[in-house]
């Protein structure tokens, strides 16, 4: 990724954080709008989970990542810390690839 794009992205992310504190000091967004904006991350994160698990380029591929996600889901359900969740997923995929 080029430096100009990277820095522009950083500026964009900052602008979104600072919009509330700088523009509308003590006012609030209308509650339905605030709720929808706050929820946008949910479908986007779900899409990332799906694509990063079975996507490879523009095709769907079932491989070790699916088993790794299942282990991650179990760890999240058991309230394991973040690092344990991602390391558990990596270890699962690594082991399966070692055996295969």
């Amino acid at each position: 990724m080029s430096w100009p794009l990277l820095l522009a992205l950083c500026a964009g992310c900052y602008a979104m954080k600072a919009a509330g504190p700088l523009l509308l000091a003590q006012r609030r967004l209308p509650p339905p709008v605030e709720r929808l904006v706050g929820l946008v991350a949910v479908p986007v994160l779900a899409a990332m989970v799906a694509l990063q698990t079975v996507g490879r380029g523009r095709s769907l591929v079932l491989d070790a990542r699916l088993a790794a996600l299942a282990v991650a889901a179990l760890l999240v359900w058991k309230r394991a810390p973040f690092l344990a969740v991602v390391l558990g997923a990596a270890a699962t995929a690594a082991l399966l690839r070692l055996v295969a």
Partner: protein, 232 residues
């Protein structure tokens, strides 16, 4: 000055900082294995400083996606900080310069900590303590991971499987909100359906429309006469 911060608050802030620091290590490793330089990786954590967006950038690049797609996905994930900014605004100091500086600390964790306090003054301190702890440890973790990560073989070590796991761990705590599960399913289905037929980046952009599914949940709850509204 430090006696103005209750010890309980500082301890909580430090523990949250440590947890995000560990998460920062995994970001650093994944970022350099995705092809970003150590410097770019550290600049992302210093200046973008919003975990989900940073993971989106390196996740899309690691999967062979275009930089523009990575950028679009990062901005979409950053959009929730608009809402957090409005929630945090009342607990920030009045000076515009300080507001501008502290706005950089607007995150899931800082806003949640501020919301958990009984009064505005304590909320402001909780926001500041948590934000500073996370900023220091997230960046330290990133640098550590970036320096160690270059030596690793991503596929053999299963590092590609860390991305869906990381996004899942970020997603699950948000599912408790009303309508969130529907929005999540809609987003995942839209993205998978569009993957084979659209350019990279489009599936995730389109998935953001899944948020509209949360509206149908609300309408149904109202129609059925049940009190499914969120707590005030």
């Amino acid at each position: 000055m430090s006696d103005a911060f209750p010890r309980r608050l500082l301890q909580q802030a430090f523990v949250i900082g440590l947890a995000t620091g560990a998460y920062g290590v995994s970001f650093g490793v994944l970022s350099v294995t995705a092809g970003l330089s150590v410097l770019q990786t550290c600049v992302l954590s210093l200046l973008m400083f919003t975990g989900a967006s940073q993971f989106a950038v390196v996740g899309v690049l690691a999967g062979g996606g275009a930089p523009a797609a990575a950028a679009g996905n990062a901005l979409l994930l950053g959009a929730r900080n608009i809402a957090y900014g409005f929630v945090a605004a009342p607990v920030l100091p009045r000076s515009r310069l300080r507001r501008a500086l502290l706005a950089h600390l607007v995150l899931d964790e800082t806003v949640a900590m501020a919301r958990a306090q009984a009064d505005t003054e304590t909320a402001g301190r909780a926001f500041l303590a948590t934000g500073v702890a996370i900023y220091l440890l997230w960046n330290a973790g990133t640098a550590l991971g970036a320096l160690a990560g270059g030596a690793l073989d991503p596929i053999r070590l299963g590092l590609d499987a860390m991305f869906p796991a990381a996004f899942l761990a970020l997603l699950v705590p948000q599912l408790r909100r009303p309508g969130a599960s529907r929005a999540a399913v809609a987003g995942a289905v839209l993205a998978l359906a569009l993957l084979p037929i659209t350019p990279a980046g489009v599936p995730v952009l389109a998935a953001s429309l899944g948020v509209l599914a949360a509206l149908t949940a609300r309408a149904e709850a109202a129609g059925a006469g049940h009190d499914a509204a969120e707590p005030a």
